[in-house]
């Protein structure tokens, strides 16, 4: 037993190095492959609209839920999307609640997802009043985040090069916010608010014009709106 100590220390040291470098254990790799496979089925559903792909994706994801802590949150988020598309909103909320708010880029983004699910559930029931209420909460959450990070938004949106704004984190939030304003207050109001905001901060005209165009077209796919 005494001779085993150095080997044990070497193994311990190697595993520490691997974990420091974010190395994958065999369990991680197996789990990662299954997550990718689940996403392939998921994509097939988006393309074919055949519900059988959602069932396949769910089966695969459920099978690896406890496989690797590295992918636990990804799996729950994927399951949440599958349940959302299957219109099983209570299960979607249940798995979302298993994901800690701290893994999101900002904690209230989890609340955004929750309200998107609730809004869709209300829409499915034909309850447009509740749907608008949840959309309103989403608007408040994004506005609050923008308010707290005002300088970051102003600095980014005022850059003269469009490429430095489009598809960055600021664009992500601004696009989602004004999409949901268009849902709660109408497209015309959202456009007007964008015009006022652009003038106030002297924001990049090309960026704001492009966003207004997309809001007018009311095409959430093109805008990359999450889970609408």
């Amino acid at each position: 037993m005494k001779n085993m100590k150095p080997y044990f220390l070497i193994i311990l040291a190697l595993s520490s190095i691997l974990s420091c470098r974010g190395g994958n254990s065999p369990a991680d790799e197996t789990c990662g492959k299954q997550v990718s496979k689940g996403r392939e089925y998921f994509n097939n559903f988006y393309f074919t609209k055949q519900a059988v792909y959602l069932d396949s994706a769910l089966q695969i994801l459920k099978g690896v839920e406890n496989c690797s802590s590295k992918y636990t949150n990804t799996i729950f988020m994927d399951e949440m999307q599958v349940y959302f598309l299957k219109k099983n909103f209570s299960s979607a909320l249940e798995v979302l609640n298993k994901v800690p708010a701290t893994v999101f880029p900002f904690p209230s983004l989890k609340d955004v997802f929750e309200n998107k699910i609730r809004a869709k559930e209300a829409e499915t029931k034909g309850d447009t009043i509740s749907q608008r209420k949840y959309y309103g909460i989403i608007v408040s959450l994004y506005e609050h985040y923008m308010d707290e990070n005002n300088q970051m938004f102003v600095n980014t949106l005022c850059q003269s090069e469009y490429e430095k704004i489009g598809n960055k984190e600021v664009d992500f939030v601004v696009t989602e916010l004004y999409y949901y304003i268009s849902k709660t207050e109408g497209i015309a109001t959202a456009i007007n608010k964008l015009t006022v905001y652009q003038k106030n901060i002297q924001g990049n005209m090309q960026y704001f014009d492009e966003l207004k165009k997309n809001i007018r077209k009311n095409d959430p796919d093109k805008m990359g709106i999450m889970l609408y």
Binding site: G32, N44, Y46, P105, D147, G224
Partner: protein, 230 residues
């Protein structure tokens, strides 16, 4: 425009559409709208004039900013930032950078008339026949772990959806592609008997990523209203 000779088709032989059957026919004796027989609508002498009659263009292009949320890892300490009210807030500013990876997908739809030379008749000595339209969907995107694959092309014609997929690496010379980008495409055809003015309504190119390193990523889904903006 002041020269009326320019408006004359010297050789005749133009496309017309049978108003009852909505079929496109080539007639050697038609030269203008004026000598188009009763029961027919003048289309034009170019094959692409059939596309105009169908209400579509030969190409469409559009893009989509892809939004994603990176898988949370070790986060930097929250950076204090000033709020609009001037107070110091402690929002997780550095972590917000995990919101998107800056991917943009570009899609193109190409529509071309398919014309063959079949059986000759007295009024169509070359036997020109309109067989339908070929439709190609092309998706160009940056090469990265978020590159979207699979998916395909969906076309709505006459209220019915037609799909072709998956998107495959395009048979194009890579030299014409921008470095760091990949082009995938898929093609299909719709036969003439399914086409009539206004029938081609929309097209959509979709694809998705199988990357397991994101918490959420919106799939590529770029739609075109084919009857819009003629």
């Amino acid at each position: 425009m002041n020269n009326p000779v320019r408006l004359i088709d010297p050789n005749g032989k133009d496309w017309v559409m049978n108003n009852d059957t909505k079929k496109y026919e080539w007639q050697d004796n038609v030269t203008t709208k004026g000598n188009t027989p009763k029961g027919y609508t003048y289309v034009g002498h170019e094959n692409n004039d059939i596309l105009k009659s169908l209400g579509v263009k030969s190409s469409y292009s559009g893009g989509q900013n892809r939004k994603s949320i990176s898988l949370g890892g070790d986060k930097a300490d929250p950076a204090p930032v000033n709020s609009r009210a001037g107070a110091v807030a402690s929002t997780l500013l550095p972590a917000a950078e995990g919101l998107t990876k800056g991917e943009k997908a570009q899609a193109t739809i190409l529509i071309s008339p398919l014309v063959s030379q079949g059986k000759a008749t007295d009024n169509n000595k070359s036997g020109f026949t309109f067989d339908g339209v070929g439709i190609t969907g092309i998706l160009t995107q940056p090469i990265s772990n978020l590159t979207a694959t699979g998916g395909g092309l969906e076309v709505t014609n006459g209220g019915k959806e037609y799909t072709r997929g998956p998107l495959m690496p395009a048979n194009v010379n890579n030299n014409i592609s921008q470095d760091g980008y990949i082009t995938t495409s898929v093609s299909g055809r719709l036969s003439a008997d399914k086409l009539f003015p206004g029938s081609l309504q929309s097209a959509n190119i979709s694809a998705g990523t199988t990357d397991n390193g994101t918490l959420y990523i919106a799939p590529v889904s770029i739609s075109f209203d084919l009857q819009d903006d003629k």
